[in-house]
């Protein structure tokens, strides 16, 4: 037996980095794997299926400290927002204090360099600044990108002294409210500095599972104690990167590097909603001309959901063909959806084949497996708006 899909990571020869919670993961019996240069828990002894279903039923706790946390500040919030808008197609100027927005860095061909979360921290949090979270695998490039383009316009601080955990699931809000009742006031896509049972944290009501929940930034020195406090709640179980991936795929959320890359633009990636009207019209971000042209002409391919008809999962890079055998696209993420008990996937197909219900074939190990274009998310989002 041999594993056919090893986890690849940049700088695979370099020694692996660890998060503040590494020893705790090992103590909890996690299976550790290299991911984006870090030694991370892919699963705990209960296994990916159980961890996945627990998150959908109760509350899962994820260590996402490998991701990059960045603080952008300047003379005024408007100055910072305006500066960041030169790199991203989102409307940051319109953000209210405490409001969070999903965005991405684009390049001159409108390719997606990384996707990210931006929160305008409120006046109650000291100054009015931006708290940004970027992907682990891209964070060094993102930081260099910010420094190269914005260092004369705002202060860029990498918050390397902070850990980040995600508490996700229908019971996440109740669990977190037991530590900090005020957290219940946060709505989906908003954030605030809070004191959670003695720990100073930055919490945003957001996540990567489709469930209600929080991403919580905590000082490295407090990380283990804070996480142990959360894990002491009987509703909370630790969840690894394996279930994180199956949860986000069921939720139809993109994984940068798979579903969105520097070779995909936001229009074909079906992320037009993340480019607010003013920015779509006015441009002023890298690749704006291409985005505007794509919006006017329609993209030649689209990111879609795919439901294989049988039980065989179709993995990333599986070719998608029409019934004549012509290649019309490729799967970018594919696997098994534990909440659905069946395989699910997403990928890109030529626009002519992108309508929901369109029948396609997936070429798995030389066999054409029937599948259909399907609506996403596969599992309904349960955000608390």
């Amino acid at each position: 037996m041999s594993s056919a899909t090893p986890t690849s990571s940049p700088g695979a020869d370099a020694p692996l980095l660890v998060t503040q919670l590494h020893d705790l993961h090992v103590e909890l019996g996690a299976k550790m794997v290299p991911f984006a240069g870090y030694d991370m828990p892919v699963q705990y002894p209960s296994g990916i299926l159980t961890e996945h279903l627990h998150t959908r039923e109760s509350a899962g706790l994820f260590d996402v400290s490998h991701m990059g946390q960045i603080r952008l500040s300047g003379e005024t919030f408007a100055a910072v927002a305006t500066a960041l808008e030169t790199l991203c197609p989102a409307d940051f100027q319109a953000l209210q204090p405490g409001q969070q927005r999903y965005s991405f860095f684009t390049d001159s061909s409108a390719g997606i360099l990384d996707d990210l979360m931006v929160t305008r921290m409120g006046p109650g949090d000291g100054s009015d600044h931006i708290f940004m979270v970027v992907n682990a695998g891209c964070k060094d490039a993102d930081i260099a990108h910010l420094r190269a383009n914005l260092s004369n316009r705002c202060k860029i601080e990498v918050l390397a002294d902070r850990a980040l955990v995600a508490l996700q699931g229908p019971k996440a809000a109740a669990v977190f409210a037991r530590l900090v009742p005020e957290s219940g006031k946060l709505k989906f896509m908003s954030g605030k500095s809070l004191n959670a049972a003695g720990f100073d944290v930055i919490a945003t009501r957001s996540g990567y599972t489709g469930e209600d929940g929080f991403e919580i930034s905590v000082a490295n020195k407090d990380a283990v104690a804070f996480v142990k406090k959360l894990l002491a709640d009987p509703d909370v179980k630790p969840v690894g990167l394996g279930a994180r991936d199956s949860l986000r795929l069921e939720a139809g959320l993109c994984l940068h590097g798979n579903d969105i890359t520097e070779k995909t633009n936001p229009v074909e990636a079906n992320l037009v909603w993340a480019m607010q009207k003013r920015r779509r019209e006015q441009g002023g971000f890298p690749g704006a001309g291409i985005v505007q042209q794509q919006l006017a002409d329609g993209p030649s391919r689209k990111r879609v959901g795919i439901l294989p008809e049988g039980k065989a999962p179709a993995r990333a890079h599986t070719e998608i063909t029409d019934f004549g055998g012509r290649v019309i696209g490729e799967i970018t993420s594919g696997g098994f959806g534990p909440s659905l008990g069946m395989p699910i996937a997403m990928g890109y197909v030529e626009t002519a084949h992108a309508a929901i219900g369109t029948e396609i074939n997936l070429m798995v190990r030389g066999k054409a497996l029937p599948a259909k274009i399907a609506a996403m998310p596969f599992v309904p989002h349960r955000y608390q708006r």
């Binding site: 594993s3 696997g335 190990r365």
Partner: protein, 125 residues
């Protein structure tokens, strides 16, 4: 010969006459995690030792299962279609993959007995 034998690729074989029942070891299922699909060979398929016999899919990845002996597939474990998790629950029993009519019994000599395989797995840590 009787008893269970293991390959270095973590497949097992139990021989009854000239029929070998093949599956993956408890070590292998543990490494894979939750099995969600097994792509079994067609009955009648001629397989060659060391070449692909089946593909086992966990939530995370697809892995090839190699044939520990050459021969012809005479039966597959169709019950895995509805209950692939049986591979995790009972790897050495109900989680078997296929029965193969052995082409060359001498190939079995290269496989490990239970004690040798246990030592082999311990050496992997």
């Amino acid at each position: 010969m009787s008893g269970i034998r293991f390959s270095k690729d973590h497949e097992w074989v139990k021989v009854d006459g000239d029929i070998a029942t093949v599956g993956i070891s408890p070590y292998a299922q543990d490494q894979l995690g939750d099995v969600v699909f097994v792509d079994l060979p067609a009955i009648g398929k001629k397989i060659e030792k060391g070449k692909e016999l089946a593909v086992v899919e966990s939530v995370k990845a697809a892995s090839e299962v190699y044939a520990p002996v050459s021969g012809e597939v005479v039966e597959v474990n169709a019950a895995l279609g509805d209950a692939p998790g049986t591979v995790n629950e009972d790897a050495l029993g109900k989680g078997w993959f296929a029965k193969v009519k052995i082409a060359n019994k001498a190939e079995l000599d290269g496989l490990m007995d239970e004690a040798a395989y246990k030592t082999f797995c311990e050496g992997l840590h």
